[in-house]
């Protein structure tokens, strides 16, 4: 499996994702934001960080970068695209994913381990997880409060486009297990063709027991098919 990680000047989880991909035997290339063409790849990843400082809106400026045009093209051709954290924010700014990520409801940056529940395990990103499996992943963001309009929310539910929801360790999804105020506890969504996944939690941080746990591994192994 060939992957490409897009690197913006303010990306800071690019090395982390590269390490995880290497561990999982992906053939990975790093792609600098000023490049105008993507290497041939089956999977494009937009990593976490603060792409261009994120001073205007998270992901807004990255959404206008040269390389992003290529990502949009590739995504429309059906290439797999994974946006993690800032990557998710960028995907919503480009319109590849609908909805948006507002500031956390407590107006603070939040870094902690949270539980999420697998809502759809029939996609190329999630097939190695069990349905409703509870994962413990790390979140680290200022703007992770997912918001969208009613029509889109209906579409997300009706077409099974919600990938993960924040939950407690038993799988209950309620206000109590919602770290950032996200609509319906949504932690990650697919586009309608399910070739694009945007998620706030960091699977790449969960591939090494010495550091955390291995709950992120199956996302990568799902992609390997």
């Amino acid at each position: 499996m060939r992957s490409s990680v897009i690197v913006f000047p303010g990306s800071n989880c690019d090395r982390d994702i590269a390490v995880a991909l290497q561990k999982m035997q992906f053939k990975n290339k790093m792609v600098w934001h000023k490049e105008t063409a993507l290497p041939k790849s089956d999977l494009i990843i937009i990593p976490g960080g603060f792409s261009y400082g994120d001073y205007l809106r998270s992901g807004a400026i990255a959404g206008k970068s040269l390389i992003i045009e290529e990502v949009v093209k590739a995504a429309k051709f059906g290439s797999l695209v994974l946006g993690i954290c800032n990557g998710f924010q960028i995907l919503t700014e480009t319109g590849l994913l609908k909805g948006t990520l507002l500031r956390n409801k407590n107006l603070k940056f939040i870094n902690k381990d949270v539980h999420i529940k697998v809502i759809n395990n029939t996609t190329k990103f999630t097939s190695k997880y069990k349905l409703n499996q509870i994962l413990k992943l790390n979140i680290a963001h200022n703007e992770g409060n997912f918001f969208t309009d009613n029509d889109h929310l209906k579409e997300l539910n009706n077409d099974n486009l919600i990938a993960f929801k924040y939950s407690d360790e038993k799988g209950n999804t309620s206000n109590l297990s919602n770290p950032n105020g996200a609509l319906d506890n949504i932690a990650g969504i697919f586009n309608d063709k399910k070739n694009i996944l945007g998620m706030m939690p960091h699977p790449e941080r969960m591939v090494d027991n010495l550091i955390s746990n291995k709950d992120g591994v199956n996302l990568f192994s799902s992609l390997l098919g």
């Binding site: 205007l56 809106r57 807004a60 400026i61 206008k64 700014e93 609908k98 909805g99 948006t100 507002l102 500031r103 956390n104 409801k105 407590n106 107006l107 409060n145 918001f147 309009d149 105020g181």
Partner: protein, 97 residues
């Protein structure tokens, strides 16, 4: 509409550039976590007459363009292309004379 306590800007008189202000606010039906916290905090500080507060962004933009209409179009384009997230935000452009 009248403004108070705003000094007149001498800039636009030079004619070859124009200055605009843009205010960007969250759409009515979009959750505004920040506005809510600000409102609560102000009430806790004893400001009980506060009825409602909404927070947004503000830009002051100078354009090298003397035609007012053209200039405003350019500002509008900047808003649409970058400054505003049209999914969740509304905006207003004002010329500063």
């Amino acid at each position: 509409m009248k403004l108070i306590s705003v000094k007149l800007s001498p800039l636009n008189s030079k004619k070859n550039k124009l200055k605009f202000s843009v205010t960007v606010t969250l759409k009515k039906d979009v959750l505004d976590p920040q506005g809510k916290v600000v409102q609560n905090t102000l009430k806790n500080l004893g400001m009980h007459d506060l009825k409602n507060i909404r927070q947004g962004k503000f830009f002051e933009i100078e354009i090298n363009e003397k035609d007012e209409k053209l200039a405003q179009e350019k500002v509008n384009e900047m808003c649409k292309k970058l400054l505003v997230n049209l999914i969740i935000e509304d905006y207003k452009i004002n010329i500063l004379k």
